[in-house]
């Protein structure tokens, strides 16, 4: 167990709790930067995909984990980010401006959506956002002159200062670019967490009545959480549009919305780590299942194609097992393992025993 001697207030404000933590994250960063040299183009592309999911996930995490508002419709905001970014580019705006602008447009859209619905809680908000996601698919099809309808839009190669970041031509370049954006988003997320706004989010999440008594404008804070969350998710959506090359309403359908929520819960709600760990699962699990299926098929000489939808079936089963055995997500499990080793050999079995809590109705507000 590490003992941190806090001698200044700065100890609670700075990004890393202690030097060793800073060291580990620096090492992680180096590994992340070096990854394309080891992985090869195909896996680098997959890693890029995971990073994009993590960016979208951080947006949703801020909303769900920090401000306590569940959204089952974030793919709609990914779509807004992707379409506005690509449309801006086709109007002649360079990518380096179109991306943040797309994010800002999405953030404004998110804030505007949130304003009338800040009085909604829990399941009401979840289904209202789900409705937005369903509607977005149809709206994209209906707005064909702008969005290209079912044929979709084609995203041009990302080009910054003459450097081309084509997914196939410059896989590692694209990876590094998106890694840099992901790191910027992580920093923004951390900054919000350690400043008054982040605390206001937590306050609104835990007790609205008490937040009001502390001088927090609950409606505005919730709308702000929505705006910042959708800003991040919009950036992620724009990147996903570029990564896909061609995208239409199917690229951002309800399944993506649901997967995004599954992802952050599996990863561990309320933590940045959770967004990344969840993205790894969502990004690699279907691949891993397909890989394992093919491997077993070869091994036992059976035709695995006979069962359609096998991947989704296994995917669902794994999710069920996950939520049953580790409701705190992968990050929760990791904290347990880490604590076990830090305290070795003094960790006790029941240290993490779940506090039995009794549910009370949420129908009293």
């Amino acid at each position: 167990m590490r003992i941190v001697f806090k001698t200044t207030y700065e100890a609670d404000i700075r990004l890393f709790k202690h030097g060793a933590q800073g060291f580990w994250y620096a090492l992680l960063l180096i590994v992340a930067i070096a990854a394309p040299f080891i992985l090869g183009d195909f896996l680098t592309g997959e890693a890029t995909n995971v990073l994009i999911w993590a960016i979208c996930g951080m947006g949703l995490m801020l909303l769900v984990g920090q401000s306590g508002q569940a959204s089952l419709g974030h793919a709609a905001f990914m779509a807004i980010g992707a379409y506005s970014c690509v449309l801006l580019e086709s109007a002649g705006v360079p990518f380096i401006l179109a991306l943040p602008l797309g994010g800002i447009i999405t953030g404004i859209a998110g804030g505007l959506f949130a304003m009338p619905v800040t009085r909604l809680h829990g399941i009401y908000l979840a289904i209202a956002t789900l409705a937005v996601s369903v509607m977005m698919e149809d709206v994209i099809v209906l707005a064909e002159p702008l969005t290209g309808g079912v044929n979709g839009l084609m995203a041009a190669d990302i080009e910054i200062f003459g450097i081309n970041f084509n997914r196939y031509g410059n896989a590692s370049g694209l990876y590094w670019l998106i890694l840099a954006i992901a790191i910027l988003i992580v920093l923004a997320y951390r900054n919000i967490q350690r400043s008054p706004l982040g605390r206001a989010f937590a306050a609104v999440r835990d007790s609205e009545i008490s937040a009001q008594a502390m001088g927090i404008n609950v409606a505005r804070t919730k709308a702000m959480a929505f705006a910042i969350s959708t800003f991040m998710t919009g950036i992620g959506g724009a990147l996903m549009g570029h990564f896909a090359g061609v995208f239409n309403q199917e690229t951002f359908n309800l399944v993506i919305s649901i997967n995004l929520l599954l992802m952050i819960v599996i990863g561990g709600l309320g933590t940045i780590h959770g967004a990344f760990l969840g993205a790894v699962v969502i990004g690699f699990l279907p691949q891993a299942i397909a890989f394992a299926r093919d491997g077993l098929g070869h091994l036992f000489h059976f035709d695995s194609i006979a069962i359609p939808g096998l991947e989704t079936g296994i995917f669902g089963t794994i999710l069920i097992l996950f939520i049953l055995f580790e409701p705190l997500g992968i990050y929760g499990r990791w904290v347990k393992i880490r604590t076990y080793f830090e305290l070795f050999p003094f960790a006790r079995r029941d240290m993490f025993r779940r506090q039995k809590s009794y549910l009370k109705t949420e129908r009293i507000r």
Partner: protein
């Protein structure tokens, strides 16, 4: 000019008159208590001052100005802090974070500077922390600074809630049953703190309390209520011996006969 003044305040819930034509004034620097049996309308008065409820008629003045035009979240900014009868803390946050939320009314940074965590925001954080540490020292909360609220015992939560209200650095502190559910020793601590809040910090206190020992030891004036109506106003001793108050608490002979 009184710090807080209620003028002929009435509040009705449907057919029920919860508060009936109540007037009183809290002077700067005093500890003022509302007492009365359950359902007398004490907490309802608090909730009207917090603007959770709007009076049916009458006016509430703070520093001579009506607060009825204010939204609930604007009250803390005026310098009115409160605690809740059933403790309303932020469960999934630490004691320190809870108390830092109390500094929200002193926030001078906006979301853009916070997103970038500019040096200004950093300096502000130090300033907020300093103010919170004063409250922590005052209430002896050092051992709990980094503990999550969800795992804290009831008595400590009560103190944390008081600390969070103090972090606002209010002019008027509303305490809703500060000693309910506390042990004798803890109640004594509360009595000392209220004394110090008044004398050292110069904060005016308005409280609702059932424990008459606490009320008579710390309060300057007491208002007794029953069924939403004003019964008696005076020093704790005067109010306790008032026949109407005794009647409201114990029931009159005529009522028993009926």
């Amino acid at each position: 000019m009184s710090l807080l003044e209620l003028k002929n305040v009435t509040l009705k819930f449907g057919g029920l008159t919860a508060v009936n034509d109540v007037s009183f004034a809290v002077e700067e620097g005093e500890v003022f208590a509302l007492v009365g049996p359950n359902g007398a309308g004490k907490s309802t008065i608090f909730n009207m001052i917090s603007r959770f409820y709007t009076p049916y008629s009458g006016d509430i003045l703070f520093e001579g100005r009506s607060i009825l035009g204010k939204a609930p979240h604007e009250i803390a900014g005026l310098g009115i802090a409160r605690t809740f009868q059933n403790i309303e803390l932020f469960e999934q946050a630490s004691v320190l974070q809870n108390m830092l939320v109390g500094r929200y009314t002193h926030r001078r940074s906006n979301f853009l500077t916070e997103l970038l965590f500019t040096p200004f925001v950093r300096r502000e954080e130090h300033r907020h922390r300093e103010a919170v540490e004063k409250a922590i020292d005052f209430l002896d909360l050092q051992p709990y600074r980094e503990k999550l609220i969800a795992g804290l015992p009831y008595g400590v939560r009560k103190v944390v809630e008081m600390g969070r209200a103090l972090a606002i650095q209010p002019k008027l502190l509303l305490l809703d049953e500060p000693a309910s559910g506390l042990s004798v020793e803890e109640t004594q601590d509360v009595a000392f703190w209220i004394e110090d809040i008044k004398k050292v910090m110069g904060i005016t206190v308005l409280m609702v309390e059932h424990d008459m020992h606490l009320v008579s030891s710390v309060c300057d004036r007491v208002l007794a209520l029953a069924d939403g109506k004003k019964l008696a106003l005076g020093t704790p001793r005067e109010v306790q011996t008032d026949p109407r108050v005794v009647e409201a608490y114990l029931g009159s002979d005529t009522e028993e006969a009926a």
